[in-house]
């Protein structure tokens, strides 16, 4: 990733994603708690949440922001543990691929659930 972007740009993204994600996580928790924690986890209630487009957008944003922040954090920790260009490339691209895979997997759930494509 360092070949594509300067480290300062990556870290600015790291800080920004953290700050914005905090806002969305607060919304997410408020929604859960105000519905009553146990009730909010009922199947019908969760489906209703996903079918609300604004909330689905909040979930998607959270998914992207936390994935970017989390996998960049993991990249940083792994880069500091061991050095060498082959290892560092593997860590950087490995984290990037894992991040994209998690976003794709989570987005699939959000899109399908919000479109009602859920098994009966």
């Amino acid at each position: 990733m360092s070949n594509i972007m300067r480290e300062s740009h990556i870290m600015k993204i790291h800080y920004l994603t953290a700050l914005v994600a905090v806002g969305f996580v607060i919304i997410h928790i408020i929604v859960r708690v105000t519905q009553g924690f146990a009730n909010s986890l009922e199947f019908e209630s969760v489906i209703a949440n996903y079918e609300s487009i604004p909330y689905a957008i909040v979930l998607e944003a959270m998914l992207i922001l936390i994935s970017v922040h989390g996998f960049n954090g993991l990249r940083i920790i792994l880069l500091e543990l061991k050095q060498g260009s082959a290892y560092e490339n593997a860590v950087t691209y490995g984290c990037l691929i894992a991040m994209i895979a998690l976003i794709a997997y989570g987005s699939r759930t959000i899109i399908m659930a919000s479109m009602g494509m859920v098994e009966a």
């Binding site: 986890l41 199947f43 996903y50 989390g70 759930t109 098994e119 009966a120």
Partner: protein, 142 residues
Amino acid sequence: MEKDRKEGIKGMANPGRYGIERVAYWLMRITGLGLLFYFIGHIYETSNLLDGKAAWNSMLELTQTTEGHIFLTLVIGMCVFHTGNGIRLMIGQAGFGLGKPSRADYPYTPSSLNMKNKLCIYVSIGLAALAMMYGLGVMYDV
């Protein structure tokens, strides 16, 4: 031949020798890793929704146990500490709240490790503990 005396992971993780800032550094790492693994698990857990009500309920049963609640309480604590300490770090790393550079005078107390910073770390730990208690209250409907 020279033997490189790298401290390694043990030295990096050892929080005891250098004060609360080093403890915060270590906690930040641990909570960050913990939250990432929780997040991956959470995405997988909620994706069971697509397989219908039965699959969702069986997944929910796994998490609605005492162990599940303890784990979730830890996640709440990790999340609050990581957020609080993260904000402190962002402010500090931007160069704010460190004091002004000045001529060093004995006994050379580093102004970047000032009380404001230490207090923020303690407040983050305190808030994490409070949030964990609140979380337990919500989960057990106290």
